[in-house]
């Protein structure tokens, strides 16, 4: 290592090699986001999935889950030992996949803290630390020293306390030596740090303590990354048959060689010669040792060395191992994951191509297809690797390949792969539908196949048959993961026979919420003593919180906002099939849409429902209904909507707006955004594409679809509410200066400019001057104290 480099070296174990890079997280307020399913993993906690509740398999799942799904589809369920070992490999599980949504966090002592606790029984003073990091012992996971080091120290401490005596000088000396060893743990990559070594003991001292000290010195070298020093020390101890550490040291010689063989190099490049030596030593040790634990560890490390030295061959070996029941399933899947990812390589940059551009995406897709295909060709004698790479790829090649494999083998994994990739227009659809229909409800692939059967039948416009298939599947869904029910119900909604049936399928059960905790029905976003945050109450669940309320999926919201005509929306909002929490969102939205689209008849139809749900709207809606002509109605529609930032002609997918209906949210979750996209924040650049891909629901007639599109287009043409609403209100003020409602309407026009979603035309000065010149004594003028 040169003095010009700061090299943070990966720890030498397969697990650490596979640590996923942490993503740069979004810089967003902690507003709740509803989770119906995760694209990266099965429903949380994934232990149910590992036990065989496969649900609907997703190509986007992390690779380890596809391995498990393959095993179940292939009739080789995981044994309980395999499940345990799969769940124990934390690096295989992204995010919080291992935890349930509602988890009580309990403070657990980490390995260093356990050592401190054990040590405190024999010594009152605290262990020494780096002078800049006095809380190191309290909060770290050991950094450069792995958990086994602390566990070994605790075992030895207790043993020596019995042998030497709890208050003996020997024990104090042993602890002092161990303190020195652990001083090498913190931030161990720092090349400037000096190694800290315990002092050697004279020949006159207790022989056991002297043996311990020799081991402590070698260990200190090891943690300080002085590998030559560590090798020298461990070799000597291994040769000393009288030392209680001689067997462990033989193992540590090989481990030190592994460390040396993977350190001090450009990352990813190993010192092959040293690793070969390590392999020889470790192999010999694994044969000779009688310690079962050390032999297991040695075999694992031999695997790691093989991955480094012979990645191609090892991929073939591991691919074969994970296809069948085995003893080390979790580690094998992790190694498989590592080798596959290493083969595919990191996503590249392209010269002269703007990152994130359409051109970049196009090039990346081509690159990915090429990589997958190339890798697949290299592993195609291996069934599981082939299946996983085919499942995870979206290229046309993968569709053809999956079909070819299905036709040649006709087994369940390839039926799942093929049916997941074809659409209803494909000539293969019929044969796949026939094959999938033979699969019984007890099969782990049943939910996946039912979903795709429904989809294919819908795409073929065989709606009646699709309804039969999906209804039959849902009858068997009691034990399914929640996300599988949501997906199949979502598909069933698309083929609903009529409006009532569709409305009955609108609400989907969330798994939970992220980006903001939900506590007793309320969001953390609301637990605030700040100046201007007031929130809706109990919109996620009732009081006391039990089951989470159903929410709208993206597809459901797009259909409501962009596909259904206003007349049907009125009926939907009044339908007894609609859950109450969704009616609270839909009915006011339908009133606002009716008013904005200048359909007073429909606004009047929905009004009785709206004033029951939102009594605060009653005086505004009454005034609107008493308006004298279209111009005043237009003004009163704008006047009403301007008063209520939560009143919007749209419904949100996922979590509802949290800030109170009549309060302006500081983060601009107010009214709606330009283009009348349901994604009221319009930050999602893929929104338009995603919305376009939402299928048309079967129950809408061609006339209704046309009418729904026109309604949406009209809403789009209204433009930004921050421009539209103030324009109406200011225009009314200029034409009717003596209307007593004008000062109030101008004040709220100011608020719309200030707090609306998009950056609207800034008319605050114009409003301010109008108010202060014409209505200086109005309380609304006094409330409008500035412009910007």
């Amino acid at each position: 290592m040169t003095k010009y480099q700061r090299v943070f070296l990966a720890v030498v174990c397969a697990a650490a090699l596979l640590v996923r890079p942490l993503p740069m997280l979004g810089h967003v307020p902690y507003r709740p986001e509803v989770i119906f399913f995760s694209p990266a993993h099965p429903d949380r906690p994934v232990s149910s999935f590992a036990a065989g509740k496969v649900g609907v398999v997703q190509p986007s799942w992390a690779l380890g889950y596809l391995v498990v799904a393959y095993r179940y589809f292939n009739g080789q369920p995981l044994s309980s030992a395999e499940q345990k070992s799969f769940l124990a490999q934390k690096e295989l599980h992204p995010g919080f996949a291992l935890e349930p949504f509602e988890r009580k966090y309990e403070e657990r002592l980490g390995p260093p803290q356990q050592w401190v606790q054990a040590r405190a029984q024999f010594l009152r003073t605290k262990p020494p630390t780096n002078r800049y990091d006095s809380d190191w012992w309290k909060y770290t996971d050991g950094e450069g020293c792995l958990a086994g080091a602390f566990a070994n120290a605790i075992r030895t401490l207790r043993d020596r306390a019995l042998r030497f005596g709890a208050h003996s000088i020997e024990l104090q000396e042993w602890i002092a030596g161990q303190d020195q060893v652990f001083l090498n743990c913190p931030r161990w990559w720092d090349s400037a740090k000096q190694e800290v070594l315990p002092e050697g003991l004279p020949l006159s001292s207790n022989p056991l303590l002297r043996a311990d000290r020799a081991y402590q010195i070698a260990a200190a070298h090891f943690y300080a990354r002085n590998f030559d020093g560590a090798l020298h020390g461990f070799e000597a101890i291994a040769a000393d048959q009288t030392s209680p550490w001689h067997e462990l040291s033989a193992y540590l010689v090989a481990r030190t060689l592994i460390q040396k063989g993977t350190a001090d190099e450009t990352p990813g490049v190993s010192n092959a010669e040293v690793l070969k030596q390590a392999e020889q030593r470790m192999r010999a040790f694994s044969i000779e040792t009688k310690d079962a634990g050390l032999r297991r560890s040695a075999l694992g490390l031999l695997n790691l060395i093989a991955i480094r030295l012979r990645p191609e061959a090892q991929l073939r070996i591991i691919s074969s191992r994970i296809s069948h029941p085995g003893t080390n399933f979790g580690q094998d899947v992790e190694d498989f994951n590592y080798l596959i990812n290493r083969k595919i390589g990191p996503e590249p940059d392209f010269p002269g191509v703007e990152d994130g551009s359409v051109e970049y995406d196009r090039k990346l897709a081509a690159w990915r297809q090429e990589r997958y295909q190339a890798l697949n060709e290299r592993v195609n004698n291996n069934e599981v690797a082939d299946w996983i790479l085919t499942m995870a790829s979206w290229s046309p090649w993968s569709q053809q390949h999956a079909l070819a494999r299905w036709r040649s083998g006709r087994n369940l994994p390839w039926l799942v792969a093929a049916i997941s990739k074809v659409d209803g227009r494909s000539s293969a659809a019929i044969e796949l539908l026939e094959a999938a229909a033979q699969v019984q409800p007890g099969s782990p692939a049943y939910a996946t196949l039912a979903l795709h059967r429904g989809r294919l039948l819908r795409e073929r416009q065989e709606f009646e048959q699709a309804r039969r298939v999906l209804d039959a599947a849902l009858e068997h869904s009691q034990a399914w993961p929640v996300s599988a029910v949501t997906l199949v119900k979502g598909e069933r909604a698309l083929v609903a026979a009529g409006l009532e049936e569709f409305v009955g399928l609108l609400g989907s059960q969330p798994l939970g919420f992220t980006n903001g905790a939900i506590d007793r029905g309320e969001s953390e976003y609301c637990e605030d003593t700040g100046r201007d945050v007031k929130c809706e109450r109990y919109i996620f669940s009732g009081k006391p919180a039990k089951r989470l309320y159903p929410q709208l999926t993206f597809n459901a919201a797009v259909i409501i906002n962009e596909r259904m005509p206003l007349e049907l929306l009125v009926q939907a909002a009044q339908s007894p099939q609609l859950p109450k929490n969704l009616r609270l969102r839909l009915a006011p939205a339908v009133w606002a849409r009716s008013a904005l689209l200048e359909r007073p008849d429909l606004a009047q139809t929905i009004a009785p429902d709206v004033v029951i749900l939102r009594p605060e709207l009653k005086p505004f809606i009454t005034a609107y209904q008493q308006a004298e002509g279209p111009a005043e109605r237009r003004f009163l529609a704008a006047f009403t909507i301007a008063h209520f930032p939560g009143l919007r002609p749209l419904v949100e997918d996922g979590a509802p707006r949290v800030t109170r209906f009549d309060y302006a949210d500081n983060y601009r979750d107010n009214w709606w955004c330009h283009n009348a996209e349901l994604d009221e924040f319009s930050w999602d650049s893929s929104y338009v594409e995603r919305a376009r891909s939402v299928p048309e629901p079967a129950f809408l007639t061609a006339e209704q679809r046309d009418s729904g599109r026109k309604d949406h287009l009209q809403l789009v043409q209204i433009g930004k509410p921050g421009d539209f609403l103030p324009a109406i209100l200011i225009d009314w003020a200029r034409r009717h200066p003596n209307d007593p409602r004008v000062p109030e309407s101008l004040h709220f026009a100011w608020r719309v400019v200030r707090f609306s979603c998009d950056e609207p035309r800034n008319r605050t000065r114009e409003i301010f001057l109008l108010l202060h010149s014409r209505y200086p004594d109005s309380p609304w003028t006094r409330k409008t104290r500035h412009w910007y």
Binding site: V7, V28, Y139
Partner: protein, 229 residues
């Protein structure tokens, strides 16, 4: 724009280097600084930390900013312990003594109820840092535009994060969009990503740039092209 204060001598562009193996040895240290994710502190009932595990290679005279990310999920993080701000500050301050550290940056998207804790922690941190060492924080864009809570924080800059913004603001898909920065602490820097549209940049603004993959010669060439260098 006149540059003053502790960051006055910093290069015009700082590359964020997240938890990925990165090799940025060839960067011109007069033009680029490197802000690397040094440690992630997770607060729940207790505190756990994870220091950087991925390799980072930098030039000998690179200006290094140690970035410490704090994660405290609402509803599960207990920030009530009065000693906690001091404890966290102590952990972050330790990075000031690492070789090559030219500044410290804290990345914490504090919720409303966590702001008091954050302000106290930053106060304690400032007291623990060497007087001349600059202290930076990342800021939600809305903190710089619609909130005034960061105005009194003892930091040298708050970097408005103009990427992965979520509902904070609808960034345009074409570069040159504008955002109303009102808070003076936010006026000298912006945080950008190579894969999202950039806002209209004022001359003299120092840039922090994130890249969704490890930095590499192609990415740097593309960045220099974007910067007009």
């Amino acid at each position: 724009m006149q540059r003053t204060g502790r960051f006055a001598s910093f290069p015009p562009v700082t590359l964020w280097v997240w938890e990925r193996p990165d090799d940025v040895r060839k960067l011109d240290p007069h033009r680029y600084a490197v802000a690397y994710l040094a440690e992630t502190i997770v607060i729940r009932d207790g505190v756990t930390t994870t220091v950087r595990r991925e390799p980072l290679l930098v030039a000998p005279d690179a200006r290094l900013v140690a970035v410490v990310r704090i994660e405290a999920r609402p509803g599960t993080a207990d920030l009530s312990d009065p000693e906690l701000p001091g404890v966290i500050a102590g952990m972050i301050a330790a990075w000031a003594h690492e070789k090559g550290t030219a500044a410290v940056q804290v990345d914490f998207d504090a919720t409303r109820s966590q702001r008091l804790f954050y302000a106290r922690m930053l106060g304690a941190l400032r007291n623990r840092l060497p007087v001349r060492l600059p202290l930076s924080i990342t800021a939600l864009a809305s903190w710089c535009a619609f909130d005034d809570w960061i105005a009194s924080l003892p930091v040298d800059e708050a970097v408005p994060m103009f990427f992965r913004m979520g509902p904070d603001h609808p960034p345009s898909r074409t570069s040159g969009w504008r955002y109303p920065i009102r808070e003076p602490l936010c006026r000298n820097t912006v945080g950008l990503s190579t894969d999202e549209a950039w806002p209209d940049l004022q001359p003299g603004t120092r840039l922090y740039v994130f890249h969704p993959r490890p930095w590499n010669p192609v990415a740097l060439t593309n960045l220099e092209h974007s910067l007009g260098l």
